[in-house]
């Protein structure tokens, strides 16, 4: 049975990778299992300089989901390159670095700096973080700004550029088409939806930041719809993200058109989540007689080649 997929020029031994910000830089989870089972690893958003992030509380639980307002806390690109990435080499899997910033120059500078690291397989451009005042979400909601960002980063980057889109837009396809046109090598979606919880005891928003990003199983139907819609409009590969918790969830995203997927919140509920999901995916293919997982991709679309496999 073949679980290997390609995302552009990236070869993944299976379509499962952790989502940025939900796996830190890998070392903590490495205490639970051998990370080489993963399709790839996506590390926490990296900015030019170190960031402290938002005040606490940064987390809230919601029905089948959670809100976070971390605010991009990270040690800055230098330390990421020097100390965080090298230990990941030994797993022999692609390392994708999620890049964030305020202005376009920040992004370009981070990407240029990452060019020098031998460990980076691709960058994931985070123009969709809802949790910082100038966290790039304006780039994530305006197709023209997104396109110019992608052009600038593509010019600067040695490695493939995956653009991570925000679901907080009227038309996700319009955003996707704009970044494809601008040269993106792949698209990942979705980032979190903007949400809020009020602490009725304190009569104030629960999160110190007021609002936060909603993730988890609650958002899965929105993510599946966006993957289905975007893959019907663009030709570049799409990585599906949102509420994935089981192997069957992965199948759902693949059928909707995703080439690969990322697991976020589920890592918090269960540190073994990615490993378990890969095993479940394997078991599913076994039972369903799927010889090559690529036959599932897009198979839920009308007239899909794979539809009646």
């Amino acid at each position: 049975m073949n679980l290997a997929v390609k995302v552009g020029s990236l070869h993944l031994k299976n379509p499962v990778m952790p989502a940025s910000g939900c796996f830190s830089f890998g070392k903590e989870v490495a205490a639970f299992y051998d990370l080489s089972v993963l399709g790839a690893i996506v590390v926490k958003a990296t900015t030019l300089d170190e960031r402290q992030g938002n005040k606490t509380p940064r987390l809230a639980e919601t029905a089948a989901g959670m809100l976070n307002a971390i605010g991009l806390q990270n040690p800055g690109v230098e330390r990421v390159i020097e100390t965080e990435l090298p230990p990941l080499r030994k797993y022999g899997i692609p390392i994708i670095v999620n890049v964030a910033g305020n202005a376009m120059e920040d992004y370009v500078q981070v990407v240029e700096r990452l060019n020098d690291s031998p460990d980076v397989s691709a960058i994931e451009l985070n123009i969709s973080c809802p949790n910082v005042k100038c966290g790039g979400i304006q780039f994530g909601t305006d197709p023209e700004m997104a396109a110019s960002m992608v052009r600038a980063v593509k010019r600067a980057s040695r490695t493939p550029v995956i653009v991570k889109l925000s679901p907080n837009v009227t038309s996700i396809s319009e955003m996707a088409l704009a970044v494809e046109e601008a040269g993106a090598d792949a698209i990942s979606l979705i980032n979190t939806l903007i949400g809020m919880k009020i602490d009725i005891a304190r009569r104030a928003p629960l999160l110190a930041n007021g609002q936060g990003g909603l993730s988890g199983p609650a958002i899965k139907p929105i993510a599946v719809r966006m993957v289905y819609e975007v893959t019907s409009h663009v030709k570049i590969p799409v990585i599906g993200i949102g509420g994935i918790t089981t192997g069957e969830d992965v199948v759902e995203f693949l059928l909707a058109g995703a080439q690969a997927i990322q697991v976020g919140t589920a890592n918090f509920t269960d540190p073994l989540a990615c490993k378990r999901i890969i095993e479940e995916l394997h078991a599913y293919c076994d039972e369903a007689g799927v010889k090559d997982i690529n036959t599932l991709i897009g198979a839920a679309k009308p007239h899909a080649k794979g539809r009646f496999l």
Binding site: Q52, L59, E61, N68
Partner: protein, 259 residues
């Protein structure tokens, strides 16, 4: 991490419970510290995507079991309170850094507020075992909330404080931390609500006594991957947010910055 068996669920006060379950590690071999926490999955339902952190309270080496004590305050802990002997429970941990022990300590002061008292019991046992004198100051809102008094008495003197004076001294734990009371104390350990920790830090800094604070922040993963649980610390003159789940929950008192 592994699925464990609930051995006992005991009501210990109004909305207060003691939950005992099989330990996810071989306790006779050590591998745990007082002050560490267990990260419990409430149920396998999506109603609770986040685990709940509860302090390790008692260790039963013979039964290879652990006890946590908690207040059923929100939806998750209320659901935990429905568990019965024989039920399965998904337990991650013990996690984090607990209370460091200092062999030379003559007199240790343990300060606990409300549902912050549980981790002090195992700490008291360890301190007592190494020969330190243990003095506990524990505070509760009201008499019916008192927990673990007898357990702590087994290891030393206990000063009881209640907000409303229904038992023990009326007031706050800091009211008991007089210079006389602190006489000879070589180190303190505190766990409780943030306002209490802040007050304790201030008072005992004045008395020049070093100590540790166990902080309570909302946790996502409990293992260092979500960066949700941070608290501000000052180290070498520089303030930064550190993860309380891996670098804490216990920190040297002088590092902790309350904003």
């Amino acid at each position: 991490m592994a699925v464990q068996r609930v051995l006992e669920q005991r009501v210990i006060g109004p909305e207060l419970y003691a939950l005992t379950f099989s330990a996810p590690l071989k306790l006779s071999e050590g591998g745990y510290e007082p002050g560490q926490f267990l990260h419990l999955r409430v149920t396998d339902s999506f109603d609770f995507v986040l685990r709940r952190p509860l302090s390790l309270c008692q260790v039963h080496v013979e039964r290879n079991a652990l006890t946590v004590m908690y207040r059923a305050q929100g939806a998750g802990t209320r659901r935990l309170a429905r568990l019965r002997a024989g039920d399965a429970i998904d337990v991650l941990g013990p996690l984090g850094k607990g209370f460091p022990l200092h062999a030379g300590d003559r007199r240790a002061l343990l300060i606990g507020g409300g549902i912050g008292v549980p981790p002090l019991v195992e700490l008291a046992r360890h301190l007592h075992a190494q020969g330190s004198e243990v003095v506990s100051v524990i505070g509760f809102q009201t008499a019916d909330q008192i927990i673990l008094r007898e357990e702590l008495k087994a290891y030393g003197q206990v000063h009881l404080v209640t907000d409303d004076g229904t038992e023990g001294v009326r007031g706050r734990v800091t009211d008991v931390l007089t210079p006389e009371q602190c006489e000879g104390v070589t180190r303190y350990y505190a766990c409780g609500p943030t306002p209490m920790l802040r007050a304790v830090q201030t008072v005992l800094r004045e008395r020049d006594i070093p100590g540790y604070l166990s902080l309570e922040e909302r946790m996502g993963c409990g293992i260092g991957i979500c960066v949700g649980c941070v608290h501000k610390v000052r180290r070498e003159g520089r303030e930064s947010y550190v993860k309380t789940c891996v670098e804490g929950p216990v920190f040297p008192a002088e590092e902790v910055v309350f904003s």
